[in-house]
Symmetry: D2
Subunit: 360 residues, 4 copies
């Protein structure tokens, strides 16, 4: 779609590219072998060979993508190819590849690694945004403007009050992101039926070690069909997008011709019309509202997908894959636009005063 770039960022496109996804899946396999070697379940040499193959730079994704349609998920062809490559190096090592693990271990953990990086970006972006908003609130703590309730002029506030309102929610959102990063970004490792039996008596140590290697949290149980953490992540992003959408909507309303109190920063080619050259349209704020309109339904899909039968779902799990990625990309874009919007926001304090005066 020609308008794709509205709804994502280059960083997220890279993070969720086929190549990066494969990279994280191989990192899981490598980390697993290392952890199993550390507790003595597989030979150290085998772990080194597996790690070496996982680190090879000539992996391609085309065959894996094709096979996914037959296999049912991408982990199966990845593991098959990994075994093939390891077998070329050392036939006896083959048995130690992916030992005791299941497709969902690989796929869920790789997703968590991607989410981890995404959240690190979000954390940075929201911190920057909140700093910008703090500055804006301070700068305008005495700038009088009209408050509006039910879109009617109500009583005077300051523009600082309005910005403080935006900031208030976003500061809580920043804390929620931190909480989610600490609690919900965890390794998945339980083996074929989730009880860890295939990983032997050292399963807890192995799981903790894989988690540590991948910079994720560990768990006491596998969560193959207990998806609350994932939805907690999603809901946190949904709320953040709602807050950003509210801020953007306020700015669009303040930019109305008849109100004219704030404006998106001007840039050559920005906000024009293909038919009405005199216009100064909201662009960035429009994108933010367009994103915030899409995120609630994505959260709902993930909530619906919680009903995952028995020890692995036939469909509900798979439905999470595109939806979670879409939600993360939209969030990244929304935060990007938000920083752009606030950084360049023009505040027309004279117009604010005029609108105030008219009420009196």
């Amino acid at each position: 779609m020609l308008a794709d770039s509205i709804f994502t960022t280059p960083q997220m496109e890279l993070l969720f590219s086929d190549a990066t996804e494969l990279r994280f899946m191989l990192s899981f396999e490598s980390a697993l072998a290392q952890a199993q070697a550390a507790v003595g379940v597989i030979p150290l040499e085998a772990a080194l060979i597996i790690a070496d193959v996982c680190g090879q730079t000539d992996w391609t994704t085309e065959w894996i993508k094709e096979q996914t349609l037959l296999a049912g998920n991408p982990a199966i062809p990845v593991v098959n190819r990994l075994k093939e490559r390891v077998g070329h190096k050392s036939q006896p090592t083959l048995q130690y590849v992916h030992q005791g693990a299941t497709s969902q271990d690989v796929i869920d953990t790789a997703l968590m690694c991607q989410l981890k990086q995404a959240f690190e970006q979000f954390d940075e972006d929201i911190n920057q945004l909140n700093n910008l908003l703090s500055g804006l609130a301070r700068a305008h703590r005495q700038t009088p403007m009209m408050a509006r309730t039910l879109l009617q002029q109500a009583l005077p506030i300051t523009f600082g009050d309005k910005v403080t309102g935006w900031l208030d929610g976003l500061q809580r959102s920043e804390q929620s992101l931190s909480r989610v990063m600490a609690e919900c970004l965890v390794v998945q490792l339980g083996g074929p039926v989730g009880n860890g039996a295939s990983l032997g008596q050292h399963v807890s140590a192995i799981r903790a070690q894989v988690a540590a290697t991948l910079n994720l949290g560990t768990t006491t149980q596998a969560w193959h069909t207990q998806r609350d953490r994932l939805v907690d992540i999603a809901a946190t992003l949904g709320i953040l997008n709602g807050l950003l959408g509210k801020m953007a909507q306020d700015i669009i309303l303040l930019m109305q011709t008849e109100v004219g109190e704030v404006w998106e920063g001007a840039a050559a080619g920005k906000g024009g019309s293909s038919s009405m050259p005199h216009k100064r349209n909201p662009v960035t704020a429009t994108f933010m509202v367009a994103i915030a309109h899409q995120t609630p339904a994505l959260v709902a899909t993930l909530l619906s997908a919680m009903i995952q039968p028995h020890e692995r779902a036939a469909g509900a799990w798979h439905s999470e894959w595109p939806v979670m990625r879409k939600l993360v990309k939209l969030t990244a874009a929304n935060l990007y636009h938000a920083n752009d919007l606030i950084q360049n926001l023009e505040v027309d304090t004279v117009q604010m005063q005029q609108n105030l005066n008219r009420a009196n």
Copy 2:
């Protein structure tokens, strides 16, 4: 609807009745007057009169409900009636009724009081449920059964493993409920445009005092159009319902004629068919799935409703009212059914063993 009782509980019907809602609105007005008297903004005598009128037992709701359609929200007729009643007692006190407050302060705070009571019930119910599940997991930690992935028989686990999976998510959910109770159940008090100006220099003290009286948390800002806490509450309930739905779905699948490993407890008249007397249908688990199907969309509506313009929304706020209540009632019913289901669950360990054997 004849089937209403599936989707609510008597406690929730009482808690969200017109009378209780009015009671909480009047409690807010009373608490506000007391707090204002405590900081010396209104005379103590006025606060006593207001409290006295708020505590009168002959309030009715019919006129208030009718007026809501004209006024736009129920706080306006409630305050009007309150003023009328106070005026009858003491004309000079009239000016101190609802002083500095706005409709949204009353309505949001009353809702929070209702949510507080609902969460206390949830907390109790989930605690009981988790105790039941702990017991069940312990009792069956050595009961072998077949795990099923993608609805295919996979490898053996124990029934204890399966129950531990349910419990794992629900224990996190129990903690989330606690977090939300501590963080999100807060007073709303900001006055007409949310900046607290109408409440004077003592606004923080007044807000804290009202919160304390009503057993809610306080805030540094009003949150008239920053609805993240409310959606955090909703998402937490959404996740809980998803976990309960997963457990119920598992039980329905295990109750299949061809599987037959667990059964809902028998009761006279339970689970029969109007046309097939031999059947033993899932009833309670069916209700739970029916509830879990409805909750994701309600959370989505509340996420969508976060885009609340300026200092009070024209529509988005109002859309929260029935949706939040519905979500709470469904959650209460789901927890009630869950306790009923687990308390009476029959486990057919022989059939579990037979299904295991068939695989070998």
Copy 3:
């Protein structure tokens, strides 16, 4: 909830009351017996006795509601009570009650009867609304005003153009309602497993006759787990609510203090503020937006509920019950508000002209 009346109408409360629901369920049982007598499957006398009992005026709903929680659906206690009452009159007739039918036949058909009456009301309301809008468009076909794109003043149109836009969508919606009434409001009759076997060789004739008696369409197949017609109905209502929401949102925006081009009709006590007496808030349009915010998620729930396993669903079917009713009630309220809004709309043509002038 004190604000209940915003989200429903008295007619819909009556139509979806316990008593009316029971009435329609009994009408189904009566129609079934009559149809079976007409084709000679049961004695005419039995049909008369059943019809007589179904028509008794002393039915109550309390016991039925209680039993629903045990039985799993309300049809089971209704049929049980019906058999009891028929048995009192004539023991040999008992066997002919509900003969060959299943709970879902009763419940789905009764819902369709309710939907039929609701749609007749909608048809009337939308017709009235479209007439009002036609008149308004004609009256203002030459009233100049500013068009606004991305909430920026763009180029002149007439207010008639704007109203014609609203009408354009609503006329298509009126046609969609007609299509749905003709195609989707059908009887459910298939017996326990939906293949009609229990109803014998005359099943098609019986089904057609029951449909005719109840003023519904007939079908070639039962649709116990093929729910497309129900969702088609829901989507049609969803679209109607979207169109009404758009119109209401436009009016709220035009009512902004800074725009001031149209106003909701004034009425004593309407649109005031509990704290700001000078305000003239949108009330009716606010309610409409609040409704339109809720309906998309309800349609989504019904779409999700289409995945109904085998010959009867355990949960998905039950989830439709409150959701469909809620959607219908909201639609009724939205149409009611819309007629009220348009009938009393005040158009400030002078202000429209002033806003136009300012652009030049």
Copy 4:
């Protein structure tokens, strides 16, 4: 995402590629110029030059995509580039490019052209599917199996009965697709503020001619902010996906180890497990359920997006772009999987009989 191919088809990737989207936008501009020349509004020679430039094969999309972030939508850079290219050929022709049209005219119409091609594919696919299902129903009209209600064995039906149920809904869906193709796939042409004024007195003729050239229907009004047709399209696809999801879910349930009545066709590498070689997992049906889980929320987003203010929305319109495309791609994939699934379905009539016997 490595699993991308589950959720789309190669045809849809091509149809919704940047290049094809640009091609349709240019086709609109060309058709507009031709239509304007036909009614004498612009010189025939200008139309020929514009058509010639629109047909040039060396258009690229990179610059357009970049500019979209500034401009707010892709039509603005497309028109700019078109003007530039036309200007190179003939400076006087420049004024006739995009004359009287607005960005939304281009973008909505190009989307409709894409939807048209997608629907032609859907029509073919569902026709093929329904033929397959008809054949399957005929072949098994006498194959006895157990019906299951609430996932309990109920009474015997035939497998033909079950397939006929699937077919019944899908035949209605096929008709709905036809209806939507005839009614909803229409040109967008209204100019900057939708009233057609910029296109002059011949607007109806021009609109009809553009529609005819592009093989779309025409309209009496522009529908810039009346989005019911688009949502009607979406709801129709949503219902289709629900029906497909139901069929796939039934097959997954019938494939359960303990039921074993039907199987996905075997293929080398299909349905295996990375850890359990003995398994025969549902793959295609799993993908279908995964898709059907995602579509309800997309329809909800489009319903929510109907509240588009005034003459062009700031956000709601833009939110449609990725959502509608996603819905179409998912539908295409679902239909593709469905044909694959049914074409290769293996029916174990012996097992069906055994499951029947066990009940007796």
